[in-house]
Symmetry: D2
Subunit: 423 residues, 4 copies
């Protein structure tokens, strides 16, 4: 893994140099002309030059300008008559020629533009940026839906998992990347460089991120790990400066306590599944004494679910005084068991988004800890609950297949019993 760090450093420097070179080529042409040119140009070098200008334009665009770009792109849609025709011809004669015709006809010309942009230094980042804007604007404009589908499809192919690179994030990592870790941390906020050092440097801390050569300066997803010798119930036992600390050698439990996706523009392209398993096996090799791999996870959708399915109790929660919360322990246990064991969704998947992620990865829900996070934010989303999912490396594949093939959710007997008792 450290080897790949080296590799990535060089890839990063290479990219910066190339981008500097390219950025000199400014352009006065407007974006509409440029997109038209990009799609129609023949020579590869010319395409590269135009792409570079487009990338320059897109960097720093306002929302209105993005809408203009999307509107221009939509003009280059699939010719459905040509496609129907190609389909008919191929049915009659599945020749090489007719196959190619289907491929051409089923590809809107905007995809040609995307492909050409992607071949430039910095092009992939530009497209990821484009898609994050597309996602934001899509809510108000259905037309952008097909553009998003198309771009997601292409990004999925380019972010080939074979090229994902795991990097250890530590106090030796570059300030530039660390700055992004501070920015992207989505679960337990990092408020300063000092706090960041506390998260990375102590011996009982580990942190790993996935990177991709197409976008080497941007972490795609990262996970923060605490080394302990027990399964934690409360987030303070992990984050507090006064916590009990163990040496790497004493620890037997790796706790994944924060997982953050970094790129909105890659939503729906999942890396977390691979990340956790990779990190677990990486840690296992490095620290053979590790026996348990668990999470300490929030329950973000619980209060919303309560609002909908158990409005009375939801009401109670909203009104209770902070000092009285403890009195709700048993009721909370009951409802949370129901929340996790049963599904109220049409697709039968777990009610909780985090549960869908971990159970989908092949983990098991092993315990529910009421009042595990005392923050106001945690109270408002998950009634302060934190739960542990366990990754047993030897069972992860089977559970993963069970989940995806047969919608089986792996939940510990105790929690199932509790839910059954209520039903």
């Amino acid at each position: 893994m450290t080897i790949m760090n080296v590799v990535f450093d060089t890839v990063r420097k290479q990219l910066k140099r190339t981008q500097r070179l390219f950025n000199k080529q400014n352009s006065k042409k407007n974006i509409k002309t440029l997109i038209g040119d990009l799609i129609s140009v023949k020579g590869e070098s010319a395409a590269l030059a135009i792409s570079q200008q487009i990338i320059g334009h897109i960097d720093g665009m306002t929302q209105d300008q993005f809408e203009e770009v999307f509107t221009i792109l939509l003009e280059f849609d699939i010719d459905t008559d040509a496609l129907s025709n190609a389909s008919k011809n191929y049915k009659a004669n599945p020749s090489k020629y007719n196959f190619n015709k289907i491929k051409e006809a089923s590809k809107p010309n905007w995809e040609t533009a995307f492909e050409r942009i992607n071949e430039c230094p910095g092009g992939t980042s530009c497209l990821v940026n484009l898609r994050s804007n597309l996602i934001a604007l899509e809510k108000n404009n259905n037309n952008y839906g097909r553009l998003d589908a198309s771009l997601k499809n292409m990004l999925t192919a380019w972010f080939n998992k074979g090229f994902l690179v795991l990097e250890e994030i530590s106090w030796s990592t570059s300030a530039e990347i660390l700055e992004k870790i501070i920015e992207y941390e989505a679960v337990h906020e990092i408020s300063s460089w000092v706090e960041l050092k506390h998260r990375l440097e102590p011996e009982d801390r580990e942190c790993f991120a996935y990177f991709h050569p197409a976008m080497p300066n941007e972490p795609l997803i990262f996970v923060e790990v605490a080394l302990m010798n027990q399964v934690p119930e409360k987030i303070e036992s992990i984050l507090s400066q006064g916590r009990v600390r163990v040496t790497k050698e004493q620890s037997d439990t790796a706790v994944f306590y924060s997982i953050s996706n970094c790129q909105v523009g890659l939503s729906g392209i999942s890396f977390g599944n691979f990340l956790i398993k990779r990190v677990a096996s990486e840690l296992q090799t490095k620290l053979p004494n590790l026996k348990n791999f668990v999470t300490l996870s929030p329950v973000p959708n619980f209060r919303i679910w309560l609002d909908k399915h158990h409005p009375d109790f939801a009401e109670t929660l909203s009104n209770i005084d902070v000092h009285e919360r403890q009195s709700l322990l048993e009721t909370l246990n009951t409802y949370s068991a129901l929340y996790f064991v049963n599904s109220d969704r049409d697709d039968g998947l777990p009610n909780d988004a985090v549960a869908r992620f971990h159970l989908g990865n092949g983990a098991q829900l092993i315990s529910i800890n009421q009042f595990g996070d005392g923050s106001q934010k945690a109270w408002e989303s998950g009634a302060g609950m934190m739960v542990n999912y366990e990754y047993i490396l030897s069972k992860v594949e089977e559970r993963h297949e069970d989940y995806h093939r047969e919608n089986i959710h792996s939940i510990s007997k105790e929690i199932r019993h509790l839910a059954k008792a209520i039903n």
Copy 2:
């Protein structure tokens, strides 16, 4: 560039390690079942495991076995009814949902198999190998045409030019890569390690190859360069041990005297265009005294063209005694001018394959050297002719666009005059 050498070394080592790990997973299942499983499986890890077994099967297959594989894959063709339907629906309502339906319907399931194989370590090499067999068998079985078109399409996307890496090939390169240089040299054969050292080590020699991270142990294409202070007319002035040698600093001319494509399975996916320009600009930076970038190239299709268009002279050539050849100098000059200046092809492109390559890249044909290569092989293909194409970096883009947009072939005035004189 040297940085990327470092990077590649690590990528290579990484790949070898991973492949070793995966190769342990043997399988008793037959290839038919495996391909079916691969297309239908849900979980990503299962897909990876099956792919690995398929890769193991394919490595070392006989021709019959390849035909079996291709026949199985063809069963997973496009459902044209679904595609026509999807096209109709999208015409009526270009929604995100309908867009995705077109994408699904226009993708034969064999492409799913290819995608999954490509995510494994060693998967890309396996697919390149598959395609080289497909190309060989396609001649006798038209059915394979669509499979080839599909795979070529996918390989083109994966061999993204943004990831091509130029490496200097020298006597410090690994024996494993050098062995392949010996094997793949297609223009002027290298008969031993001693001869290889003569091609790489002297100060007036350079060699560069393109590699791609998807297949880091295999050069895609390489070019051998001689540093001189004149434009050479004969291949002996480059290859002979007794040649006049210049130091790097004295040289003003870089001669590309041998360009070899290495991967049959990537035919039709062009890298040479980029390679020559990249190498020229690399050399320019390294040796600012270089002023001319030329080739010394064979004329492989000349005798075939003569056979067809000037059978009398073709006959003369076939019968002439080796000692009398010199007497044909003027006639050869005439016919070769015609050969290069006019096109006898339907598409109007140059008659000569090598001319199509260099003129298409933006070079100019500047001179024709009769008897430039005294070997029997050169006599039989190009009547012993060698020609020089010149790459002028500041004009290469314009000529490249002219060629591809308007079929303009850049040929020196002298040669044009000669051809005109005859007409």
Copy 3:
């Protein structure tokens, strides 16, 4: 240079791993026994193990404990009788055997201890630490002088300049190194990570440090550079956020505005000479438009010199109101010219320590800027003066030889005239 960054990253990681491994070997033996064992042990592996324990002991020692170590070491002094004998024998017969005897006899056994410590991972750092304590304690204990001389001698040999590695320090540098840049900045203090980013990230900033493989995690010396298109007179024109900024391409002047030695334990072993010339030629290659290489330097010893040689004016300076300082401009010009042009030292070297450094490197003093630094600290040491030294690459070697051979100080005509006028 970027290549060496890569190299160093790996060296650093390697070192950390090895140190972790070694640190496990704890020891109960006291330091006296350990040092005795280290000097007498035969086997190399045993020596390594003992060294490791000594390194563990030394890390975190108090002043008293250091004194104990030094006292123990002093017991292993040169046997002068043996040395005189060896010298006599060699005079009589300069044989190989007798030569070796001189070498043995002239080497105190404490040097054997130092050598063996130096072969351990982390050993060099330990010895540099040892020497910084030696220097501190030497002031009160003359006995430590010979130990310091011996260790300095050995460190000089080990910090072979052939292995010095120049690294660009930027916002992409690791947080661990950057933290040390904040700590070691000795000229213009860096008060926070935000300020550090201001020093490193803007396009008109550069920073370079020297590292050595023997101590890869510690910068030895670093220089901060401002790109400008004029020779600056005031430090504000460099450090203020509201300064005029130029692009790298517009700049024609590189200003070395802060040079900090980082390792007390390496005092007297000069790296700065090499650093500035290396950085200048590095910048010249990267930015061919750069024409001037100058410093903006403090004048740290001016007030002390005034106190001694011109007590009346020194008195005036001490008493003047901050708002009246401007009125002293001419007198300051006079005295500062005298200060720089004449030497009041026995060795005839420049009065100013910074002048000794830059003139000794082959630079020329080109201008004196009164009130160039408005800070209290600058007022108290150099009466607020800042000066410019210029490095002309083509003259640097000659001036360097002139300085060291003939004590010639390169100072501009204008300043010399000014001083002459007074005399």
Copy 4:
């Protein structure tokens, strides 16, 4: 370890570049003037320039020219009067000043020349080359002895073991290094690139070399390893193409069958000790199933010893017909046991040079295999005998100390019994 390969590749490239730059500076001065200048010059840059010229001179010198250089250097010998004086003064007053005086006086000025040469790119190689010539000429000229002692002393310090880098040598290693492996193999000759590939590529082969950053293009020592599942008795069972081959996973025994020192100029500076232990622990990590680490070693001094101590039997051996050798089995067993168990040397060390190396490293002699090597060379040196030394990692340190402290030779009971039976 692979990381260090990467590092080394970059160090190598760096060195080549720098050497090219420096080599331009030619010189007309003769070597005598240059050496004088080098010793007297003050400025560091001037010293560097002169050193570079000297290096240029030395590269390609004849024996006579080397003698000239050595004669010049000898003029800069130790001033013994100054040294005696310094010694006396230090005895009277062990001040810092007097310590430095001893250091100066005990250092002949030729060492200053060596130090300065060593700071240049390529300087270390030059000095190693110098010493190999010194060793050759020393036999005929005793005067060179002290020069050799001095240079050896300095090289020992520079080739700090902390910087030794282990590299795996494989078919992926650069042709340039592999060419040197062919050249330096001293035990079982490699006659061609094809044979080299047979030594490196099969799964049951490993090869490792030590490199040092001071001379990164030159292996210092390398060892060839065969993976087997038995302790071999004959060299054919290792080298023959028809041998039984095992996979890496099946093997339980690593056989070090060839160890070659590469640099004559580093004789007496031992790396082999470290190499074997490092390789053994490297292999142990990589292949946890390995249980035995043994050698299959020649017995190079046996026949010479016989000639001296048992001339009758030596005579028999010389005269016996090749087909009758087998009849001597028992007598050979007897004499070889004596040869290994007893010492006929004044220092009491083993009679056999290879035994001194392995037993000194902490190995044990476990078996003697008569007729283990059928070659004529092996018959003439060791009567065709091959022996096995065993490295037991947990005992190696203790045996190493025993050997060096108390001259205890670790030899198996069986062999001791055999020798005792005879005595």
